[in-house]
């Protein structure tokens, strides 16, 4: 039976391999420039330690998860503007779901954006990525303020829960004009009913749970 299957599928397999060899989404070739370049990383390896770029005064404990360091991670757009250092943190599954990293040629990771789930009046539209993956990128939350569910309204009036992305701000930077909106976190998360956290910090409270039970909390966007 195995031989028969090989005969049947070998031409297809060979064809696939040939097509794959000509695919454009191969690993980038090694950088030769001395200027560190930032490019989309292959993402940190789950279960392993990663080098991340944190503020110089950050206190990083051994074994810390990258998610626990979220407010100490220097945004990629600000990486050359502040005193910072490399630190090691552990990558769990939640980092892969909630944090988008970019890396330079030294494999140092810089936080690019974070994913949150906000209550909305429409299903926020996805944007098609230019890569060959065919996947669709989540929208930026602030691009859809008019469709998000403000905290002045009752959360049960919301029609959708939408995933969207936020760019983390530089620590200590003046606050942008903010809106307080409703967000969703796991039921067991430690966010209190009266707390209003910055939305971009909510991934710190996104522990995975088998039940998938959720609760609505307010956050400032």
């Amino acid at each position: 039976m195995v031989v028969g299957a090989l005969r049947l599928f070998a031409p297809l397999l060979v064809g696939f391999l040939l097509i794959s060899c000509g695919d454009g989404d191969q690993q980038p070739s090694p950088q030769t420039s001395t200027t560190p370049e930032i490019e989309l990383s292959e993402n940190p390896v789950l279960g392993q330690d990663a080098l991340v770029w944190v503020y110089d005064d950050a206190s990083v404990e051994n074994g810390a998860t990258c998610l626990s360091l979220l407010d100490e991670l220097v945004p990629v757009t600000e990486r050359t503007k502040v005193e910072a250092k490399r630190a090691t943190c552990h990558v769990t599954g939640q980092e892969a779901l909630s944090l988008n990293f970019l890396s330079d040629s030294s494999q140092t990771l810089y936080i690019g954006s974070v994913q949150v789930i906000l209550l909305s009046d429409i299903a926020l539209p996805l944007a098609t990525l230019t890569s060959s993956s065919g996947a669709q990128e989540l929208p930026m939350c602030r691009d859809h303020l008019a469709n998000l569910h403000l905290s002045t309204r009752h959360p049960e009036e919301a029609l959708w829960r939408s995933a969207c992305m936020i760019l983390p701000p530089l620590k200590g930077a003046p606050l942008q004009t903010t809106q307080v909106v409703w967000a969703t976190v796991p039921e067991a998360s430690q966010v209190g009913p009266d707390e209003i956290l910055p939305c971009w910090l909510l991934p710190k409270y996104m522990e995975l749970s088998p039940s998938n039970d959720a609760k609505d909390v307010r956050c400032s966007l």
Partner: protein, 212 residues
């Protein structure tokens, strides 16, 4: 095009693996379903769990490996049949318990019309034309595009984890069972990795035993 290549690769290699699997006879599986995500590598974010409400279902939550963007990724019904004996109907996911969107493949004995169970694909947007579609399965790969992973869910759907595929079957049907010994194809990874092309014995999620 990339999706098609990925799917083709998954099907080709999985076919080789499944057909060469010596355990098939002892288990008497007549059909096996693999990961619905169009990919050769998926991470399990939540191990087998049951939270669809009114039915006894067991599900895996799946995303693309290593944090690749899962939203918008295609989801396929991917079943390898050892017999051409099923009639498969695609319906909207039952929203009696939660309002989560999805597609469920309802499976019947083609000859007698007996209901044999369902494979559910939840947190996806149904593909155009799939709802109400049906086919009689072959003794080979049975494939149908069922949708794409959603970025949003109706408010009555918990959805705290964001875009992912929740793939389940109805376990109260005796002949349908899950692969509880699903291999971790990358033990160095913090999450269980299911690689449809990476295991010689454990690359399927659900199976239907011989029922006649």
């Amino acid at each position: 095009m990339s999706k098609v290549r990925t799917l083709l690769a998954a099907v080709v290699v999985s076919a080789l693996l499944l057909m060469g699997n010596g355990s098939r006879t002892s288990e008497a599986d007549t059909h096996r379903w693999i990961v619905g995500l169009a990919t050769t590598c998926a991470d399990v974010t939540t191990w087998w769990h049951s939270n669809e409400g009114e039915f006894d279902t067991d599900a895996l939550d799946l995303v693309l490996c290593n944090g690749a963007t899962t939203s918008g990724n295609q989801v396929w019904y991917q079943d390898y049949g050892y017999y051409a004996d099923l009639e498969v109907w695609f319906l909207n996911h039952d929203t009696a318990y939660t309002s989560c969107t999805g597609v469920q493949a309802e499976i019947y004995d083609e000859v007698n019309g007996w209901y044999l169970g369902g494979i559910h694909y939840v947190h996806i947007n149904a593909a155009a034309g799939v709802i109400g579609d049906s086919f009689v399965s072959s003794n080979n790969w049975n494939l149908e595009l069922v949708g794409t992973v959603a970025g949003s869910q109706p408010a009555g759907c918990p959805f705290p984890d964001g875009p992912h595929l929740h793939q389940s079957n109805r376990t109260e049907i005796w002949a349908l069972h899950n692969n509880s010994s699903l291999n971790d194809d990358d033990p160095g990874n913090a999450q269980v990795e299911v690689n449809p092309t990476g295991s010689t014995s454990s690359n399927w999620l659900h199976a239907l035993e011989q029922w006649w």
